[in-house]
């Protein structure tokens, strides 16, 4: 049935990077859509961007950057055999990810209260540029938020494995891989932030 299991950490890491490439291309397709509609509706996009809260966007950006550093540091902690610190850092990472989602919830809530959401007739009345801007905004940040949720679940699973000593100081490629996934989520946001909040 299965062959003898031999460990190949480099294969595992390579597999994760290849998967990250597919995620980059998934969002890449949305960047294509963004480029086209931004080119065709420059003023509408510029004006609509003013309606987004730069403050919340900046805070969220910094939240993710900190969470990237905490998960990176958790690897160092595990390598130094400081299991407690590794788990603490992962806990902070998850907490920050949840904080990001909470911010997003309130941010979206504000827009939806003003009847700004995909398919809204009020939004349609505002003009095609606005419809496309907000369509892209909700779709791209929504897809990104979905990836945050997936990432948080992934990290939680890894944390449980570390707690149960299935992942240790000399066998931690799964922790590295979860870090890679989380950093990708951070990278996508690093580009979403200026493209929606800073094109003012």
């Amino acid at each position: 049935m299965t062959t003898e299991i031999h460990r190949d950490d480099l294969a595992s890491k390579t597999g994760m990077w290849l998967f990250l490439f597919t995620e980059m291309l998934l969002f890449g397709g949305l960047f294509v859509v963004y480029s086209v509609y931004r080119y065709r509706n420059p003023i509408a996009f510029h004006l609509a961007a003013h309606e987004l809260s730069v403050a919340i966007g900046t805070i969220n950006t910094i939240i993710l950057l900190i969470s990237s550093s905490t998960i990176a540091m958790s690897i160092t902690a595990l390598q130094k055999q400081n299991k407690k610190l590794a788990l603490l850092l992962l806990g902070i990472t998850v907490f920050l990810g949840l904080a990001f989602l909470v911010n997003k919830y309130f941010e979206w809530g504000e827009h939806i209260k003003e009847h700004i959401y995909p398919g809204s007739p009020i939004l349609a009345l505002r003009g095609q540029g606005d419809v496309l801007f907000y369509g892209l905004y909700f779709f791209m940040t929504g897809l990104h938020a979905l990836h945050i949720i997936i990432g948080l679940i992934f990290i939680a699973v890894i944390a449980v494995k570390i707690y149960g000593d299935k992942i240790t100081f000399d066998n931690f490629v799964l922790l590295e891989n979860s870090g890679l996934y989380w950093h990708l989520v951070d990278l996508i946001w690093i580009f979403l932030f200026p493209l929606f909040y800073l094109i003012t």
Binding site: F31, L65, S69, T76, L187, I190, L198, I199, T200
Partner: protein, 94 residues
Amino acid sequence: MENEKNHIIPYKTFLFVLAGLICLTLTSVLVTQISLGPLTVAIALLIAAVKSSFVLRIFMHLKFDNKMFSIGVIAVILLISVVIIITLLDYLYR
């Protein structure tokens, strides 16, 4: 196993990089408050690119890994860029 297994990045490195990333973020926000025309967005994206390179090279370990991973990342970014450029060849010249 790899030599890279023994390579441990100090906490300080991560904290310095984090500090730099936060500074760059705040810079990009301040820059875009000043109106520099089309240049504004270009600068914001450039800063985003610089931030990304820090995340890729330090947090994601590309600086210390086999060069093939970096080549792969750059190739994918180029691929997406070329697809966007070719698509815009349609929209720009209609």
